[in-house]
């Protein structure tokens, strides 16, 4: 599917996507504010789907808001909360409402979230969801039945370049490519040398790769992520740099680091673009992009 986002991916320009986190509740003012702030500065906005298994306003709802306000949404879809009927139905709905980019995720486990006793569905996984999209595009549903009106999507997935061990993740990456992923947004990367190695491998495949940039807000947060978040490794020199920032200026330093990394990736054409995740600090994304010279 040629969407505005897909056009950007194919244009050869350095693509920038960012992330919108829907609210817990019906007060969507802040979300709309973030959409307005970012819609003209990025090529597309991912809307998260109960991120970290925390119940929130739905991704599709956020995507409709992005559309209404003139932005380009990427619908994040996890397999955690819906079976194959519900996933397909939502794809049909998204298509009719102009939401044409989808990021397919397996989804975080239920117990890491805020409804710990809920049933995790996982009827499909991320690569099966990608195949489901391609099946719906062929005019048939997963049951093999004819659709009255098919869909077309620009579909993507995620990959973790810092995973340890990396080999099983790369096998999964290749399965996702084979299943029809057109683009990948990576888990946060901080070690540019290691990422360059990953890109050397990933360039063999006909997909676009957007490097995940997660804003570091303090040395403590950086250390916590390295120790606790799967697939994230923040090199010690960056932690030291944040720790050395004057009191009250760690966030400023984090913005500088993120901007610097984006500029370096762009300068050497390491990858096809970046996916900026400011997790709760969306209002500083324009500053990060300015710092990167974008």
């Amino acid at each position: 599917m040629v969407t505005k986002f897909k056009e950007a991916l194919n244009s050869g320009k350095f693509v920038v996507t960012s992330e919108i986190g829907p609210p817990k509740g019906t007060n969507i003012e802040n979300m709309l504010h973030h959409i307005d702030l970012l819609k003209d500065k990025v090529d597309a906005m991912n809307v998260t789907d109960h991120q970290s298994s925390v119940m929130r306003f739905p991704s599709i709802g956020g995507c409709l808001s992005v559309r209404e306000r003139g932005g380009e949404p990427i619908l994040q879809m996890t397999c955690r909360d819906r079976n194959r009927l519900a996933l397909q139905a939502e794809l049909l709905f998204a298509y009719t409402r102009g939401v044409r980019n989808v990021l397919c995720l397996t989804g975080d486990a239920v117990p890491v979230g805020d409804h710990k006793e809920a049933k995790g569905v996982f009827d499909l996984d991320s690569s099966q969801l990608l195949r489901a999209i391609r099946q719906l595009e062929s005019g048939k549903d997963l049951g093999g039945n004819d659709l009255d009106g098919a869909v077309e999507f620009c579909a993507g997935a995620i990959v973790t370049p810092e995973a340890n061990p990396i080999e099983p993740q790369l096998i999964k990456f290749e399965k996702k490519v084979e299943a029809g992923a057109e683009f990948f947004q990576t888990q946060a990367i901080y070690d540019l040398d290691n990422f360059a190695k990953f890109m050397k491998y990933a360039r063999k495949f006909p997909v676009k790769i957007l490097a995940g940039i997660v804003l570091l807000t303090s040395a403590r947060m950086a250390k916590y992520m390295t120790d606790n978040v799967p697939g994230i490794f923040v090199p010690q020199n960056l932690i030291d740099e944040l720790a050395a920032a004057p009191k009250g200026e760690a966030l400023k330093k984090g913005i500088e680091i993120a901007g610097r990394m984006i500029a370096a990736l762009k300068k050497d054409s390491v990858c096809d673009g970046v996916h900026v995740m400011a997790i709760g600090k969306e209002e500083v994304v324009p500053e990060i992009l300015a710092e990167a010279g974008l």
Binding site: T106, A109, V112, D125, N164, P165, E167, Q169, Q187, G231
Partner: protein, 214 residues
């Protein structure tokens, strides 16, 4: 087969016995004896606790294997004491609870929660090995079951939540797909992991599942 159980919190059992003051207790000599959740010692301890509550325990027995046909005989043997009771508290897995209740019209209250079918790896340590999904994939996963050993039951490889070979839901738990990768790699059969597995058939045998073996 080992049915792994844990005793219900006593408060829950107490609540289920509310208004039922005459109780006959049944234990099982197989699985709940092994897991120390419904063998002779646990049945006697339960008897005391119920008596402390002021209940009358009209009798008790530990059936050798509560899920087999001998259960009918055991129920008949204890006909009088069971007849004097208002209900049965069954401290076997749910299979035994079903078996007992098929012979009696009295209320049958389970004393344990049936958790899974598992193996004992070291004394007192049980782990689930089979989800009885009806579509065994062990031949393609180096003998490690991703349906049970992976928290999400994934069939196409690891999720992004795996970290240094461990699972995102429990840092002590091995990531099933890392183990599968290592074993398939050692066997020179990694191509099996590259195979696109289709969505699982969750209706391989529609629930409730039955089978007639001729």
């Amino acid at each position: 087969m080992k049915s792994i159980t844990k005793q219900k919190p006593f408060e829950e059992t107490k609540g289920q016995l509310d208004g039922l003051d005459r109780v006959f207790i049944i234990g099982c000599g197989t699985c709940t004896t092994m897991t120390k959740t419904g063998g002779r010692d646990e049945v006697l301890a339960m008897k005391e606790k119920l008596q402390e509550l002021g209940k009358i325990v009209t009798g008790w027995t530990v059936i050798p294997t509560a899920c087999d046909e001998m259960t009918e005989v055991a129920v008949k043997e204890n006909n009088e004491a069971i007849g004097n009771s208002g209900c049965l508290l069954v401290m076997s897995c749910a299979l035994g609870v079903h078996k007992v209740s098929s012979y009696l019209d009295k209320p049958v209250i389970p004393g344990v929660d049936t958790l899974f079918i598992g193996l004992e790896d070291e004394p007192g340590n049980f782990h689930e090995v089979c989800a009885q999904c009806g579509q065994c994939v062990l031949g393609e996963t180096a003998g490690i079951c991703p349906i049970t050993a992976c928290h999400k039951g994934l069939v196409n490889g690891p999720c992004g939540g795996t970290n240094r070979g461990k699972c995102e839901v429990d840092k002590e738990k091995d990531c099933a797909w890392t183990l599968i990768y290592q074993r398939l790699n050692a066997q020179g059969r990694l191509e099996l992991m590259r195979k696109q597995q289709p969505p699982k058939n969750f209706q391989a045998a529609p629930r409730p599942r039955t089978v007639k073996i001729v």
